[in-house]
């Protein structure tokens, strides 16, 4: 099975082939030579949903949390958020085209929190660096600034409202 992966801002193509006794994994990073790993199934086991992986003779206890595209991999106190697409998803992505909503069209909540103050109204003209909203998350007050000179198209939240992560807060025109 062929996957495209993105981790730490680097792109990879990964082939996964499952054999009876081992996994054949070929990792290809941009212009570098592809590297093939043959991982014995004995060296890659799942114990109580945790992965026990012996890599280059070193044993890693790994936890992978994924929703089909985004995979968070935790091991040795480190983690990586890895995006993985297979052929089918790649097709969907390409159909959607490059017209995904860019960051400067809207302000989203990076994490769950509470809206303390909305400093702008619909139709307001704002300058880059101007505070537009104050949000509180885990006791810290964060001032959200406009990233460029623009006009407020819509305000989607009210003061005092609690929001989840990745919620649209303000749209710009």
């Amino acid at each position: 099975m062929l996957f495209e992966a993105e981790s730490n801002k680097k792109k990879y193509t990964i082939h996964v082939n499952e054999g009876v006794l081992d996994w054949k994994i070929k990792i290809h990073q941009d212009k570098k030579e592809p590297i093939q790993y043959i991982v014995s199934k004995n060296d890659y086991q799942t114990l109580d949903k945790t992965i026990s992986f012996i890599f280059k003779n070193s044993s890693y206890l790994i936890d992978v949390v994924g929703d089909g595209i985004n995979y968070d991999v935790y091991t040795r106190g480190s983690y990586r958020s890895i995006k993985i697409f297979n052929d089918e998803m790649l097709l969907h992505e390409s159909l959607r085209g490059g017209d995904s909503l860019s960051d400067d069209k809207e302000l989203k909540s990076g994490m769950p929190g509470k809206i303390l103050k909305v400093l702008v109204d619909k139709g307001d003209q704002v300058k880059a660096g101007e505070p537009i909203l104050i949000m509180e998350a885990m006791k810290m007050e964060n001032e959200m600034l406009a990233t460029k000179d623009t006009k407020i198209k819509a305000v989607h939240v009210k003061e005092g409202q609690t929001v989840e992560a990745d919620v649209k807060l303000i749209s710009f025109s």
Binding site: M1, F3, A5, S7, N8, Y12, I14, V16, E18, W23, I25, I27, I35, Y37, V39, Y44, T50, I51, F53, F55, K56, Y60, L61, I62, D63, V64, V65, G66, G68, Y71, D72, V73, Y74, T75, R76, G77, S78, Y79, R80, I82, I84, N86, G110, M111, P112, G113, L116, A137, M138, K139, M140, E141
Partner: protein
């Protein structure tokens, strides 16, 4: 009077910390919790637990009347406030006293005197404690702020009078930064502490944060338990604390201790307190910053090197007893370091609440973990992101660092981002190893723009292979479930035939 039952007006690790000491003293414990903390560990560990309202702390943990009501109905004769929340709230102490409930902490007057940073500075100045040059009183306007700052000399630090915990504090390197910082401090002071007064003082470059643990009793005695260094901070919040500090020479330590005891006696301080100093590492001068009239987050490092349980000592003093030790009986042995494990992005320091999947804390010799996390626990968004404190001891600092490094390698938390990996990088840093680090250490060496690879302990391909195999299995599973769905009749038929045989 002997305390028989203690209500703990707090949550998280400190609530558990207090429960533990109470249990050792044969005192029953009452926990209080908000609706968001139904499944929090302190609720499970206490002898009794009562819900005191909705998730936001100003509707639960900060509501004095609700807590007093629970204390009365449960028959608690004392309240331990922990740190944060109501721990430095004078009216809480007063209202408890009115109901004949013991407040395990300093007197109402102690809290008032030290809570207002301006009055604290004046009082201690009179007691002979060295003070950093600063504004003589609160600064009213931006114009005055500029004038005062020019007199003191830049860089300056602006502080809300009632500020704390990183709120209402701003550093200005020059005049340009002053107006907006001044406004921010005023409004944070107003919003968090209902007090918009701010003052300005000299900001010492290359400073270290050194504090002295003091203890007083109602009989006029006061002692100190040496120093702690808490210079590893981000956004003025401590990340790593150690005792003793490597930078403080023995004679300076002695002097700091004596001054701290004199200061505590001068205000008739009762219970556990911490006198914070800003320490100039090049001149070895120290200036009074503020006094915290509570048990500190980092108290365990001092417990580890002195062998005294401060919660027990607090309870004894609150019962009106004399301090159990005299100054000459207090000795320190070895070295201790505490790291604060927070649910936050190790690079941006943005809190990352969420559900913990795996949790395995380090074990073995000389390790203490004061935490409240467990597998499956969902960290609420309403409170502090700190989930545990890892405290280790070694016969000297070098030894201590080895234990800490080992403990960090054992610590496993998955499902949420934590700063464990940042801690591994910090303790491997030459400036941390040799002890020359200052309060700007994190900002200078680990700031967001430095682009350090925190994850060097793991081969990138380990991440990729595990993610790819998991994605592969997920795809396979989807295919199989599709197949199974199409042949439900066949499956049922097969199952039926198996049963009748």
């Amino acid at each position: 009077m002997n305390i028989k039952k203690v209500l703990i007006a707090n949550r998280g690790e400190i609530a558990i910390r207090v429960i533990r000491s109470c249990r050792e003293m044969n005192i029953s414990t009452v926990a209080v919790f908000s609706e968001a903390d139904r499944n929090s560990l302190h609720v499970m560990l206490a002898d009794e637990a009562y819900c005191i309202g909705p998730a936001p702390s100003n509707e639960s943990y900060l509501v004095i009347d609700k807590i007093i009501e629970v204390a009365k109905t449960s028959g608690a004769d004392a309240v331990h406030p922990g740190y944060g929340f109501l721990s430095e709230n004078a009216s809480f102490a007063r209202k408890l006293k009115k109901q004949d409930i013991i407040f395990i902490g300093p007197t109402e007057k102690n809290i008032k005197d030290m809570g207002d940073k301006l009055s604290a500075r004046e009082l201690f100045k009179k007691a002979g404690v060295p003070i950093v040059p600063g504004s003589p009183g609160p600064v009213e306007s931006e114009k005055d702020a500029i004038k005062v700052s020019k007199e003191i000399g830049f860089p300056v630090i602006i502080k809300a009078s009632a500020g704390g915990g990183g709120k209402g504090i701003r550093v200005c390197l020059d005049e340009k930064e002053l107006p907006s910082a001044f406004r921010a401090c005023q409004s944070e002071g107003e919003n968090y502490f209902n007090d918009s007064r701010v003052f300005i003082e000299r900001f010492i470059q290359n400073p270290k944060h050194i504090e002295i643990q003091v203890f007083g009793d109602s009989h006029g005695n006061a002692v100190h338990f040496f120093d702690r260094e808490c210079s590893v901070q981000r956004r003025h919040q401590k990340l790593i604390e150690e005792a003793p500090s490597v930078s403080v020479p023995e004679e300076v330590r002695q002097k700091m201790g004596e001054i701290a005891v004199t200061a505590a006696k001068s205000i008739k301080y009762e219970g556990a307190g911490t006198i914070e100093f800003i320490f100039d590492n090049s001149t070895k001068e120290f200036f009074f910053m503020e006094m915290n009239t509570r048990l500190q987050v980092e108290h365990p490092v001092t417990e580890m090197i002195t062998g005294h349980d401060f919660v027990k000592e607090q309870i004894k003093v609150a019962q009106g007893k004399k301090l159990s030790v005299k100054q000459e009986q207090i000795e320190k042995k070895g070295h201790s370091i505490e790291i604060r494990v927070c649910a936050e992005d190790p690079i941006s320091f943005i809190p990352c609440p969420g559900k913990i999947r795996r949790y395995r804390s380090p074990k073995g010799p000389f390790i203490r973990v004061d935490g409240y996390a467990y597998p499956g626990y969902k960290i609420p968004i309403y409170y502090d992101p700190m989930i545990s404190k890892l405290i280790v001891w070694g016969k000297d600092r070098k030894d201590c660092l080895k234990v800490l490094n080992r403990a960090l390698q054992e610590y496993m938390i998955t499902g949420i981002k934590t700063n464990l990996v940042l801690h591994r990088n910090i303790i491997a840093h030459p400036k941390f190893k040799d002890g020359t680090y200052t309060t700007q250490f994190i900002e200078n060496e680990f700031g967001e723009r430095k682009q350090k690879d925190f994850f060097m302990y793991v081969d990138e391909h380990v991440f990729l292979i595990s993610a790819a195999i998991t994605a592969y299995k997920e795809e396979k599973r989807k295919d199989i479930s599709k197949y199974n769905y199409q042949s439900q009749w066949k499956n049922t038929g097969r199952a039926q035939s198996m049963r009748t045989q």
